[in-house]
Symmetry: none
Subunit: 251 residues, 2 copies
């Protein structure tokens, strides 16, 4: 299949000016020039353009792309794998930004607090600076990075202060629960304190607190074995006890 400049441009979603410019700088010369001086592109150019657009999407400068693609060691398969990795990183960054915007929304509604540092989560793009390392060199970390990335994402989104509070709340809940469980009375002051702590705790994670949802979660603490196992770890029956305390609390 052969393409004129416009047909290739509209195929790829770029302007004809862009294609002429890429020709001008030697990044993507057409396969041939016909008798009227028209640029004619072929299959190889289609594939090269795709490569170029991947690099461009990742913020690589055009002269760098030229350098990379004209190198004798250029390996399409390897390049594609690099693209994949970088695109996933970029998506992760976007996920951070989305988490950021969501927390900022909660902030405007007074549902949470946010440190100034948090407000710029996801914006700092070492990504582009790192392009040289990634595309210039061979070595890269393994896929384990992704797991680390994602687990960090949730912590990053929480200020250090918040994180400490949440951790302390978890501890307090466990203590209050263990003690009040001994009384056997979910209406007792201590059991209700545990329920209240629990409310505070979920308030860190939920966009807005409601009694119904809290009660619903309590039901699930018994229905869902994941929870049951967690709460009953020390003492069988604790999950059920907490559920009862919360049901009373939210009544």
């Amino acid at each position: 299949m052969e393409y004129t400049i416009q047909s290739l441009a509209s195929l790829a979603g770029v302007s004809t000016r862009t294609l002429r410019y890429y020709d001008e700088i030697g990044l993507l010369p057409p396969a041939r020039i016909n008798s009227s001086g028209y640029r004619i592109y072929g299959q190889a150019e289609v594939n090269q353009l795709q490569q170029i657009l991947f690099y461009r999407e990742l913020g690589v400068r055009l002269d760098k792309i030229t350098e990379l693609m004209t190198a004798p060691s250029f390996d399409v398969g390897k390049a594609l794998e690099d693209h994949r990795e970088k695109l996933i990183e970029k998506r992760d960054r976007l996920n951070l930004l989305i988490a950021n915007v969501e927390k900022s929304l909660a902030l405007t509604e007074g549902r949470t607090k946010m440190s100034d540092k948090e407000k710029f989560n996801g914006f700092k793009k070492k990504l582009i600076e790192d392009n040289e390392k990634v595309y210039g060199q061979e070595v890269r970390g393994k896929y384990g990075d992704e797991a680390v990335n994602q687990s960090n994402a949730k912590l990053l989104n929480m200020s250090q202060e918040d994180y400490e509070k949440v951790t302390k709340l978890e501890q307090d809940i466990r203590t209050a629960l263990a003690e009040s469980f001994l009384t056997g009375d979910p209406e007792s002051e201590l059991a209700q304190k545990a329920a209240d702590l629990h409310k505070q705790w979920i308030s860190y994670y939920w966009p807005q607190y409601s009694k119904e949802a809290h009660a619903g979660l309590a039901q699930m603490y018994v229905a869902d074995e994941r929870f049951t196992a967690y709460y009953d770890k020390e003492q069988v029956g604790t999950a059920e006890f907490l559920r009862d305390a919360i049901l009373i609390y939210t009544k």
Copy 2:
């Protein structure tokens, strides 16, 4: 908290040149100038800068940003919601690109075929062209409040029949989730199906279903490591993916 130009720059991950330029074009003048002529930024400027960076991330031109943010009708909450929407669109585009690169990889290995048109999937960005529509206009569809489900409270004790249904639902969710995760797109039909199945599932436990509570639970799926561990057991990132799917589902 007050910031000098450099402290704000490093906080936000931009250059001091950028901040001076933003001052120069009237996009972000400092809160005040001290006796030595230094720019001093305050809390309001921190928040404005965050807004600016969101717009910039989405490819909005600086003069347009100035125009938007100095308008008397500018509403931070509304802007943030727009950001969220556009960021999600951008992430969707990235997911397309990732799918594209993966298919291209398969192509180089001779495992598949690919039309020239497919090769540019995800590159065409109507995104930026649409910015005016999204940011230029005021009116946005307000998501209509769904009539509250006034059904009776669910009984904790399930019938044998219910139990089987619930067990099957759990299995279905896992399957739908695992499959849709591969697409990487929480808006995909399959991912939304998973979210719907999840709704049915919690409806067995909750006294009444509400979108807010559902969304809240979704948040917790990422925030609470018990859930995260459960969903990420087979595939890291699944909890996050489910959260995104539910957040879209409940929007």
